[in-house]
Amino acid sequence: MTVAIAGNPNAGKTTLFNALTGANAKIGNYPGITVERRMGLLELPRAGLVELVDIPGTYSLTARSADEEVAIIELLGRKGFKRPDAAIVVLDATALERNLFLLMQVLEFEVPVIAAINMLDAAHKDCIEIDFESLQEIFQVPFIGVSARKRQGIGELKAALDHLLATGKPPVPERWLWHPPAVLEKDLNLLEPVLKRELDFLETPNRRRAFALWLLMSLRENVELQVAPVILDEARRVLRRIRKAGRDLDREVILKRYEFIDSRSVDYIRRPSEQCRTPSDRIDTVLTHPVWGFLIFMFIMGIIFQALFSWSDPFISLLEQGFGALSRWLEVILPAGFLRALLIDGIIAGVGAVVGFLPQILFLFLFISLLEGTGYLARAAFMIDGVMRRIGLHGQAFVPMLSGLACAVPAILATRTIESRRDRLLTLMVVPLMSCSARLPAYTLIIGAIFPATQQWGFISYGTMILLGIYVLSTVLALVAAGILGKTVFKGKPQPLLLELPPYRLPDLKSLGMTLWERSRVFLSTAGTIILVMTVILWVLLRFPGETPAEITGQMAQAQAAGDATRLEALQNEAQAARLENSYAGQLGTLIEPVIKPLGFDWKIGVGLIGAFAAREVFVSTMGVVYGIGDDGNEESTGLRQAMTDARRPDGRKVWTPLTGVSLMIFFMIAMQCMSTLAVVRSETKSWKWTFFLIAYLTGTAYIASLLVYQGGRLLGLA
């Protein structure tokens, strides 16, 4: 048996789902869109094992985008999904009429329904009284009061569901609760023959009427529906006639439904005549206050940033140490050779890179779930939308953008809170511009190689100034990019901001735990596979063919014979550098040298850039190898800095001039280098097109910006 759970956003649908199913939710995908499909199992005494499907929250079944068509596909069991035997419609007691609107739509399709009224405690605080018997009589389906978070009423809900599934005749109103005007009824009848012929899942006249109406309402929005063209053509013809007659479908449908809901409201709901001030009102007076509200907002964002930037550090180190220990253990038990190198430098390094993101992802989702669950996230968007709107972004884009300063990977996952696909894609495209923490080692190394720490400007060192400038500039760039992309690539109509501010509530701990668990699982399985494959490819590029020149081998033998350990170590580093130069990556670096030369980079930097594609901080260790000081070079190591400062071009000029350094830092600031980011963008957008667009637009801009800086600088005589 299959049961669907439907309801408005914020109605507590997911909490109820979790309360009913326990921790066994399975996450799947709908083909082609970004919405996830959650399923869970529920055991009922009489009906047996029931599969529960969580339909994404929606205010209406009308599909205004491909994502929104999911609701109807699930409810009718189309496109290979099983048709639900019943649906639980979750209603928010504090906004009952708006929720009843969705219930009416579901009932029109003759789906057997149990209505679960959630948030009763909040409604009581709002002094709202609801008459269940009257509701039951008006809508002709069972109404059960629940508190999903407190796990109240769950038993009654299960019993009602069991009864409905186990007994034959499901409670469905025999006719629609509202009456479409005669003209509209005629239009619906026009579509009846084609629907009867083409769609066998619409067995009854009422179902066909409901589907015809859904088609007309959805087709007004110019969305690509997953319905046979012959039906769409027919429906468009009817719609054209309606338009030509100057009729107003909103009035004939939406207003009629609300007329029914309102006509009976005196029977089922009592609101206090005098508006009683709710606890949420009192909290909001402070939390959205022009002064206090902003301070609290900044404080909360500061905590999130701090958690991503530093609290996650010990956990990341711990994971790194774990993988380090594993590598050392393998080094001991396995003979040196291809397999050992592949395992340690390819696979474990790759898996380690993936798992290393977990602490940040968990921290970010912990905070986002807390903020979302309590209702604060909507307030944060309310407060900051005034600023974000000016650059064409949604108020909800703030948290992902801020998180991007720590790491783009969790930040891109955080764009999930943005409802509209356009706004979400736009945010996703600019998040990688925010200067993430992985760029810091590269900046530090470059600055250290060019500007001695002793150079001061007042009491601030040059390096600090430059670093500060980079952070400011990258943030400005991200905002400018959002402005430009929003007016060009993502032109379309920006989605209006229609954001519900749900009453404040305590978060549901079980749902919190499940979110964290599910997010880690999805990240590890989807992004993890791509990251692992790419690490192995990069490893092959950097290591093969990996021949040491005979000359050096000979000298090494000599040094070994003479017992000169210092000389031997120097030669080993030299051999490593030579192997890298001969590797595919080295050859690639030489190959791309003509392309990057106008930016002031030589082939060694080219190899570093290839390494940086694995992760930006890899640039540092790759440089360590290229400059022959071994791969444990880090951004603070003076040896590497000195080697870079001393490096000369064939013509004797310094490689690392300030101009080259600035050009390279600009490149790092803009270019799309991190494959983990790309893996997440791919798994979140489900689109290679946008993934490649991201690479092309960022790396293209980076190239042009570096080119302008370097060549401009040369013209000014700075080189």
């Binding site: 939406i254 901001l497 501010l501």
Partner: protein, 74 residues
């Protein structure tokens, strides 16, 4: 008058919405139907968006969109 012109704390009765079809039907589905009472709960610190209370819940919308909603002060 239009909804964006209302002062904080005042109430009004909704009349018609003139707007592009998408936004209009969205607002109607959210229950902003003619004859419904709304009140302006607060305005965001930067003057936009606004928070309205309608049918027992709170909805945030930008002033630009609120300007398409006609209402009568009560």
């Amino acid at each position: 008058m239009t909804l964006d012109k209302l002062q904080m704390g005042t109430s009004a009765r909704l009349m018609h919405i003139d707007s592009s079809a998408t936004l209009r039907s969205r607002l109607l589905e959210l229950g902003l139907t003619p004859g419904t009472d709304v009140s302006i709960v607060r305005v965001a610190p930067m003057g936009d968006p606004i928070e309205v209370k309608v049918r027992g819940y709170r909805l945030t919308l930008r002033k630009k969109d609120a300007a398409l909603i006609n209402c009568q002060k009560i």
